[in-house]
């Protein structure tokens, strides 16, 4: 449990630092921030999927809706990541307003998934703590 808490704290710190980190001169902030978000998203999904599986029985028994939702996220995340990276690459090679707007669309999709992932992570952590795991 302490490992989960420590990891979660690190992830939160990482997310905050990601949001606050500056962009080096000469680099495109749109691209740097999109790549950061994509990396943070993958790390966050990986963390959620691992703790959910590590607490499989507990989650199934106590918060079955979260178990179902995390499995749905397991199905959606790879495609959402692939779509985002595709949009990043399209923008990187051709930095037009249209491609930037397209990138923002996929960033919004991944941000929504990140929001629900954070909620599920919190619920699993709370339940595991209550059960003394």
């Amino acid at each position: 449990m302490k490992t989960i808490q420590r990891s979660l704290a690190c992830l939160c710190l990482l997310a905050i630092l990601n949001a606050c980190a500056s962009v080096a001169p000469g680099n495109d902030p749109v691209l740097v921030n999109a790549q950061r978000t994509a990396r943070t998203a993958h790390t966050s999904f990986d963390f959620l999927f691992k703790i959910e599986r590590d607490n499989d029985a507990l989650v199934r028994q106590n918060i079955p809706a979260v178990h179902t939702a995390v499995n749905e996220l397991r199905r959606k995340a790879p495609k959402a990541e692939a779509d985002l990276w595709g949009a990043i690459e399209t923008y990187r090679t051709n930095r037009t307003a249209d491609n930037k707007a397209n990138l923002n669309t996929y960033l919004a999709v991944i941000q929504n998934l990140l929001d629900v992932a954070a909620s599920y992570t919190q619920q699993i952590q709370t339940k595991a703590k209550a059960k003394g795991h």
């Binding site: 990482l14 962009v23 790549q35 599986r53």
Partner: protein, 62 residues
Amino acid sequence: MDPLTLIALAGAILKIIGQANDAFGKIKASLEQNTELTEEERAAFEELKKSDYAKDYWQPND
């Protein structure tokens, strides 16, 4: 303090240091990531994703 306790304590300290280094390493890497990814970094991240997608805990189990 008896030798066994001392060894256990040293082991615990080393474990904590290892975990802290790992966490700070990730954060440091993130902070340093204030530039666009190079082709090599993009390729490395693609490999990481592929590797993660193959892991058991990335597969739905309903």
